[in-house]
């Protein structure tokens, strides 16, 4: 069933995926000026993931959801496919960017920088979190909803900052972030790099699983 959904998305959105090629052209062009590979490769993964996450919203835009949902496939399968496809496309884009940076003769980052295990871990976490946060939002509010949500967070941050200036006290999140940082550093020190990586992956997997459950819940309650 998932294979059929992959084929369907490829047929319907082939040009959208082809559009991602521009990203790799940019990476190839910018390789001479990059100080490190991390940012380019991770952004590559996230961009490709976002494209996959928004495919459902594209169906809404063309009012094609009724036809898609009338095909012999459950809504749970559709959501499962989107999560899986998001991970596959995101990781593939990340690896492609790494490969590009490794083979382009004028590339500035070294091989060790390109294939750095920490960057790989960061990319995997970034791809998973992009899907886990973005998918329920897109399913419930569409792509505009996702951008409105991100924009609202920006405005909320700005308002908090202005309010802090007005009352003469900072109400920033710095203490909270510091506490989180301390927890992460302590955990890292206690578990070592391997243990920390396993714990991080487990946490991300748990978050993704919760997000998947929410997405299924949202889509199964939707009347067309």
């Amino acid at each position: 069933m998932l294979r059929r959904l992959f084929v369907k998305d490829l047929i319907l959105n082939g040009k959208v995926f082809l559009g991602l090629l521009w990203l790799f052209v940019w990476v190839g062009y910018a390789a001479r000026d990059l100080n490190g590979a991390g940012m380019a490769t991770v952004i590559g993964g996230i961009a490709a993931t976002l494209v996959t996450v928004t495919l459902g919203a594209r169906e809404e835009r063309f009012h094609a959801a009724a036809v898609s949902f009338s095909l012999p496939v459950t809504r749970r399968d559709i959501v499962r496919h989107r999560y899986l496809a998001g991970h596959l496309v995101g990781i593939a884009a990340f690896l492609l960017t790494c490969t590009l940076l490794a083979v382009v003769p004028w590339s500035k980052p070294t091989l060790a920088q390109v294939f750095d295990p920490k960057t790989m871990m960061f990319a995997l976490v970034a791809v998973s979190l992009t899907i886990a946060v973005g998918m329920p939002f897109v399913l419930r509010f569409g792509v505009m909803g996702l951008f409105v949500g991100l924009g609202s967070l920006q405005i909320l941050g700005l308002l908090t900052f202005v309010l802090g200036l007005a009352v003469g006290r900072t109400v920033g999140l710095r203490p909270v972030l510091r506490a989180c940082e301390r927890i992460i550093i302590t955990t890292h020190e206690n578990l070592g790099s391997g243990g920390f990586a396993v714990e991080l992956l487990l946490a991300v997997a748990l978050f993704t699983w919760a997000s998947y459950g929410l997405s299924v819940w949202l889509i199964e309650r939707r009347d067309l």
């Binding site: 069933m1 294979r3 059929r4 084929v7 369907k8 047929i11 319907l12 040009k15 063309f62 009012h63 094609a64 009724a66 036809v67 949902f69 009338s70 095909l71 012999p72 496939v73 459950t74 199964e220 309650r221 009347d223 067309l224």
Partner: protein, 286 residues
């Protein structure tokens, strides 16, 4: 006869509209017309069958399976046409076929190609460049190309020219004869059904008015025309629907025998109604 589709006390509530306690059964090899005015609940019934909306009450079985729980097994055997067939505008006619084919184990590519030819649909034409009628034809071609045992067609004839409407009805009758399939044809163009439908299910304001064979409906219902002097409160209450004009009244009754007895010896004309007469005269007052 085994029922391909069976609704028992099905209900669905929206803001400002409720489908309430709808029950009917569609046997194999039968074309059923689902009729009613706009907003009666026809499309809601279709959406519930295809599990595009969740029912609030009742039991809905297709091929003996629960429409919500066993939707993949059911939808594999259903061909559907939506009221407004919309899809990605950049996708070609052939591309849409290629997209749908993997989902249906019995997909018949040669039949799909034959239907495209018969319907004058250019395979390389983009969906966005098809007229409303051509989009409907494409949806019909898709529905008929995987040997579906049940066709669920929501207003498939609206937007089609009379020649193709006639051709479509003939194709459906042929399909039922060849495949032994059942057809649920939701429409407000009742003339099509008077030729093709074996059964008629009439819904109004979300409620079932009747579900019966076409012959029973036509034999049982009566169109009654008479002078205004006869139209008292008792007669208004007895008729299922009535309209009064300067020249007299026209109404319908669902008991032609009782109508003949009631109006014996009176200056009243009793005729066989069309389905359109039944829909028009039974509509609730504005």
């Amino acid at each position: 006869m085994t029922s391909v589709l069976e609704l028992r006390g099905v209900g669905k509530r929206y803001d400002g509209f409720a489908l309430d306690d709808v029950s009917f059964a569609l046997p194999a090899g039968v074309i059923m017309g689902l009729i009613g005015p706009n907003g009666a609940g026809k499309s809601t019934i279709v959406r519930l069958i295809l599990n595009l909306a969740s029912r609030d009450s009742g039991d809905l079985r297709v091929f003996g399976l629960d429409a919500a729980r066993d939707e993949v097994a059911i939808k594999t055997r259903i061909g559907f046409v939506h009221e407004v067939p919309v899809f990605y505008p950049h996708l070609t006619v052939a591309g849409l076929g290629a997209m749908a084919a993997p989902f249906y184990p019995k997909w018949d590519r040669s039949r799909f190609e034959q239907l495209l030819k018969a319907f004058d649909l250019p395979p390389r034409r983009r969906f966005g460049r098809l007229s409303r009628g051509m989009r409907t034809k494409l949806a019909i071609a898709l529905a008929l190309s995987h040997h579906a045992e049940l066709l669920v067609l929501d207003e498939p004839t609206s937007g089609l020219d009379p020649v193709f409407r006639r051709e479509l009805i003939e194709r459906l009758m042929q399909y039922v004869a060849d495949e032994g399939a059942a057809v649920l044809l939701s429409t407000h163009l009742t003339a099509d059904l008077e030729r093709a439908a074996d059964c008629i299910t009439f819904v109004q304001n979300g409620r079932l008015v009747f579900a019966s064979t076409r012959d029973e409906v036509m034999d049982r219902w009566a169109l009654i025309k008479g002078p205004l002097e006869l139209l008292d409160a008792g007669l208004r209450a007895w008729l299922k629907g009535v309209e009064a004009g300067p020249l007299g009244f026209v109404g319908v009754s669902d008991d032609v025998a009782a109508a003949r007895r009631r109006f014996a010896g009176q200056p009243v004309v009793i005729e066989r109604p069309t389905l359109e007469d039944i829909i028009c005269y039974t509509r609730p007052p504005c």
